[in-house]
Symmetry: C2
Subunit: 241 residues, 2 copies
DNA sequence: CGTCGTATTGAATGGGTTCAAGTAGCGTGG
DNA sequence: CCACGCTACTTGAACCCATTCAATACGACG
């Protein structure tokens, strides 16, 4: 699979979750945008902001998170190329959470006006973008279920499954290997655990030969066992077959 | 505030989260539907179903939930009059969770085709319904944060705040009182706790005079203290001011 | 008046946290 | 080229919030 150019990442993502006609694809790729390079660990949009544009990830990893008292943090989602993590800002004027880079990122900032104009001209695209935000919500539901009712072991296994499948769907992972720039602290904040416990569970997963995780590289050594430990069913990702 | 008739519940709900013109309101209230009466504790739509209609609550309480192995259950949301809990099925063909009644309910079943037709004719309504699903997702984010990072005490307090504010927004609650048909088991499954612990925390909340909860009636005795205990900020509900 | 769902209580247990210390890896600059 | 500093990772031990198990009480309803 070749590497798309700029807005091509967006159409590839959209085509991974829905059908997009050639004409629609062309219209999407003609959206106005400005490209921007960002450091890792940098806020892009903050809670209470009222953005007038949305942020398409072209390269790197981002996450959304909320902060509570005493420095507690909940990571709500991770995002990769093709995602528009703040697409909801199109209809929700005030941000109820933060969006930040995890690694250095290249992003395309797309003015809301451009998107409004696009969906006015292409009702089909409106449906696809709406669907994108609905898949987003479906992932929240799955995470909520994991945090509420799965063991730490199952939760972490589940996260590995999800990220790999999402990466694979846009051609950024294959052969049960993918980039893994997410720290143990990030995993902890995403899954409602402590970093110490994440560390211990990771060692457990490694010693059982389900995964290996060195540096920034994840290798799933035993997909079936991992999926079973996670009770992972990709239905909720609503990927196009 | 008077009690709306059938689809009037929907327009009231939509007007609590966005602006709706008189013309749009009329169009919404002309949606085709069939009315249905349901028992409490009954599934309406199940995981893996492919519904062709969506379900507007007219009376009673509903919830969405997922099931895991060993009978573990995660409740994802509670719903009251005016909500369309499965609106996402408009664009996500397969259900990734279940929808069930909590109490006996009256619902209006609205064919997808009717909604598609409506949003084709009224792009403004498309935006409002999209926004409705985005608020839904915003609530998921808040719950995720609560389950992941709040104490049991804070989580339960937060749920009381949220439900009261939502009920109040559509005119079903006032004066810090509202109906409360949700059992302790339900609260436990919604917040990732055990029913035993919910019981103990409720006693604590009562003994501190933050709430009283007898039978099916919730009274918030000390709103400020409850809000503080919950770190509740209604921003995420994105209500129209 | 029995029955079933819901709520309550006590006691033992445990999954995960917290605290505290130490190690490994890596880029930077003198 | 190594010392320094920074961040991420690792380990051990004590602790605790919440669970589990088990029994009991309540209350609505046929």
């Amino acid at each position: 699979m070749t590497t798309p150019d700029d807005l091509g990442w967006l159409t590839r993502k959209l085509r991974s979750i829905d059908r997009v006609s050639t004409e629609e694809q062309r219209a999407v790729e003609n959206l106005p945008f400005t490209k921007k390079r960002l450091e890792g660990g940098q806020d892009i949009v903050r809670e209470k902001d009222q953005p007038t544009q949305c942020c398409l990830i072209l390269d790197g990893w981002a996450c959304r998170y909320k902060l509570l008292s005493e420095g507690k943090r909940q990571i709500l989602s991770f995002h990769i190329a093709g995602d528009i993590p703040d697409l909801q800002s199109l209809h929700l004027k005030v941000m109820d959470h933060n969006l930040a880079t995890v690694t250095p990122c290249t992003v395309a900032l797309i003015p809301h006006e451009g998107v409004h104009d696009l969906v006015r001209r292409f009702p089909g695209i409106c449906g696809v973008l709406w669907r994108d935000t609905l898949v987003d919500a479906a992932i929240f539901r799955e995470w909520m279920t994991g945090i509420g009712r799965r063991s730490a072991y199952g939760r972490i296994a589940h996260l590995f499954c999800e990220i790999y499948v999402k990466m694979n769907a846009i051609g950024l992972a294959d052969d049960y290997r993918c980039e893994w720039p997410i720290t143990q602290v990030d995993i902890a904040d995403a899954l409602g655990l402590s970093n110490v416990h994440v560390n211990r569970v990771l060692q457990d997963l490694r010693s059982r030969k389900l995964i290996s995780l060195r540096g920034r590289a994840l290798v799933i050594e035993n997909w079936d066992a991992l999926r079973e430990a996670a009770e992972f069913d990709p239905l909720y990702l609503h990927l196009e077959p």
